[in-house]
């Protein structure tokens, strides 16, 4: 019984991994998180894909830190400019952490990171009422490895567009 469960979940994990593998790149447009090199003609300006591919929806943090690095501020400047141009989107800022901390502390740290992003956006002219925050601590990694390359991708603040 237990073995059967394990093999099913192992299979799921492998399928998921294959889908995000970089083979067959031409067939998949709008993959999401990779920094786009150029706007594809299929992306509608002002769409969520436009925001993710051409502006970038996330900023990264140093280990156990929540202050915005200069690259994060530059990225948020672009985000704020785009969001001012398309004022109909409400925003949720997700705060995330890497796996090298404890669960409860990371919930608090993720809250700080999300709030850092929000404060920067509000200081640069977005109305506070438009920006919500949520912390996921270390519960929602995007990079799966247990190494610094993955952890640096997981220590992030993500701007999620809503209506």
């Amino acid at each position: 019984m237990k073995l059967r469960f394990l093999s099913i979940f192992a299979a799921v994990a492998l399928v998921a991994a294959c889908e995000s593998a970089p083979e067959d790149t031409g067939a998949k447009a709008g993959g999401g998180q990779a920094p786009a090199t150029a706007a594809k003609p299929s992306i509608v300006p002002g769409s969520e894909q436009d925001f993710i591919a051409n502006v970038g929806d996330r900023v990264f943090f140093d280990f156990d830190k929540y202050n915005l690095r200069s690259d994060a501020k530059a990225s948020l400047d672009k985000q704020v400019a785009w969001l001012k141009k398309y004022p109909n989107y409400a925003l949720t800022i997700e705060g995330h952490c890497d796996e090298r901390g404890t669960r409860e502390y990371n919930l608090a740290l993720g809250e700080r990171r999300a709030n850092s992003v929000k404060e920067y956006m509000v200081a640069n002219g977005l109305p506070a009422s438009r920006v919500k925050t949520i912390s996921y601590g270390k519960e929602r990694p995007v990079a799966l490895g247990s190494n610094e390359a993955a952890w640096s991708q997981n220590r992030r603040g993500v701007t999620v567009l809503g209506k």
């Binding site: 019984m1 237990k2 469960f5 979940f9 799921v12 994990a13 492998l14 998921a16 991994a17 156990d64 929540y66 796996e99 090298r100 901390g101 404890t102 669960r103 409860e104 502390y105 919930l107 608090a108 740290l109 809250e111 700080r112 999300a114 709030n115 850092s116 404060e119 925050t133 949520i134 912390s135 996921y136 519960e139 929602r140 990694p141 995007v142 990079a143 799966l144 490895g145 247990s146 190494n147 390359a149 993955a150």
Partner: protein, 443 residues
């Protein structure tokens, strides 16, 4: 469904055959010393006249032996070595037969079903060397409650021989985990301390974290992302009734009950800042206990309810602090290298267990409430979240293994370890598991 509270487990007779006289050479385990030789104990199947009772007697003896073996303090003797038969044992132990196979303690027992369908279970614990009875007890229960009876017997044997309360008639609630690393399905699950009677309490539709028992073990406080909003809830185990705890203006998390069950202490995160609050469950009054721009979280009461240990980065990095239950008289207690987290006060009051991070590794350790006598018990890529068995002698925690860039290799498993740092064992769960919380002894 097993309604534990309604199980009629009545303790009928203490010292069935006379009071035990403690002898100088009595069988005894001093569990404070650690890594001692496990005591050889013979636990033959309990005698039953009817076929049904025989089967029950076999099952009870097996569960008792497994409980005692898992503690690391006892070594059940292989039943194939037994010389005296189960039926002749009812007349009285032939101690020479048990000495010959090197048993130092012996358990004899009987199972009998009464006319009303309830079963009567009795056992005697014998000191094989002094040939004296150490204890004898009887229990009446519905047959469905046989596992509890077995755990109660194991607790009685453990207590008689070690002098400490047992912890076998207990449950563990934890977060069951499954699925790929970037899409883990997390569900609350509950099971007996030995992994039996496993049951899921939530369906995995939303992220749930950090379940903790109330002192009656019939409620759990935990955190859920129900409807996308992270909040602390209380779940009634028997009715599955779930209640949102308070209308706080932000994320609430890291909840724990007070020892009297009248309060829940937790963290509230608002505008980036995390403070500790208590909520009185009777009056529904909220009280803020910390007030500063730093992270204050993972609060845990001392067993007398007078003090709280918690985790804060107010000193520049994560350290452990204690304060009075009203938030006054704050003292930093951890001063070692590294970061400290998830402090939990022992039910005995003498120690605080914690997670420590240092040099890229995680540790589970204990220290005195004043921060002295720090001892690290185990370490790994990630070990986290200790929880105390009710006798304060054993800890459960979880261990996570690293994964490659595709998430392969990751597993999260529950473990137990002695306070002495020995006898580390994996607890078997149907899927992966994290965030264990050990119940008090079931009332």
């Amino acid at each position: 469904m097993l309604k534990r509270l309604r199980l009629a487990v009545a303790l009928l007779a203490v010292a069935v055959i006379g009071a035990a006289v403690p002898a100088a050479a009595e069988v005894r385990i001093d569990i404070t010393r650690g890594h001692m030789r496990p005591l050889p104990i013979a636990i033959p199947e309990f005698f039953g006249g009817e076929l049904k009772d025989q089967q029950m007697g076999r099952d009870i003896a097996r569960v008792v032996a497994a409980d005692l073996e898992r503690s690391g303090l006892f070594k059940p003797v292989d039943p194939r070595a037994f010389i005296q038969t189960v039926s002749s044992l009812q007349v009285g132990p032939r101690f020479a037969d048990w000495r010959q196979i090197n048993a130092e303690a012996l358990v004899s027992g009987t199972v009998q079903t009464a006319a009303d369908g309830r079963m009567r279970v009795e056992f005697h614990l014998w000191d094989v060397l002094t040939e004296e009875q150490m204890t004898g007890l009887g229990y009446t229960a519905s047959p469905a409650g046989w596992r509890r009876v077995a755990h109660l017997i194991a607790d009685a044997i453990y207590k008689r021989i070690t002098g400490e309360d047992g912890y076998f008639d207990t449950q563990v609630v934890y977060v069951s985990e499954s699925g790929p690393k970037n899409d883990r399905k997390k569900r609350l699950a509950i099971m007996d301390q030995d992994g039996e009677n496993h049951k899921f309490l939530t369906d995995g539709a939303e992220l749930v974290l950090t379940p903790r028992f109330s002192p009656t073990a019939r409620e759990i406080t935990y955190m859920s992302y129900y409807k996308g909003t992270p909040r602390v809830y209380i779940l009634q185990i028997d009715t599955a009734r779930r209640e949102l705890l308070g209308d706080f203006p932000g994320m609430t998390f890291a909840p724990r009950f007070s020892p009297d069950g009248n309060k829940v202490i937790m963290s509230l995160a608002m505008d980036g800042n995390t403070e500790i609050y208590e909520m009185n469950l009777m009056t529904r009054q909220k009280r803020r206990l910390t007030n500063n721009p730093y992270i204050d979280t993972s609060p845990s009461y001392s067993p007398d309810g007078q003090r709280v240990v918690f985790n804060s980065d107010r000193g520049g990095a994560q350290q452990l602090y204690t304060m009075d239950a009203d938030g006054s008289n704050v003292q930093r207690i951890s001063y070692g290298d590294g970061r400290y987290a998830t402090p939990v006060w022992s039910p005995r009051g003498d120690l605080i267990a914690f997670t420590k991070m240092k040099g890229g590794e995680f540790f589970i350790g204990v220290m005195r409430p004043d921060g002295s006598e720090e001892r690290l018990l185990t370490q790994g890529f990630l070990v986290e979240g200790p929880t105390w068995a009710p006798n304060g002698r054993v800890l459960a925690f979880w261990k996570e293994t690293p994964s490659d860039e595709r998430g392969r290799g990751m597993s999260t498993k529950l473990y137990t370890i002695d306070l002495t740092g020995y006898n580390e064992r994996q607890a078997v769960t149907p899927l992966d598991g994290s965030d264990p919380a050990w119940s008090p002894l079931i009332p």
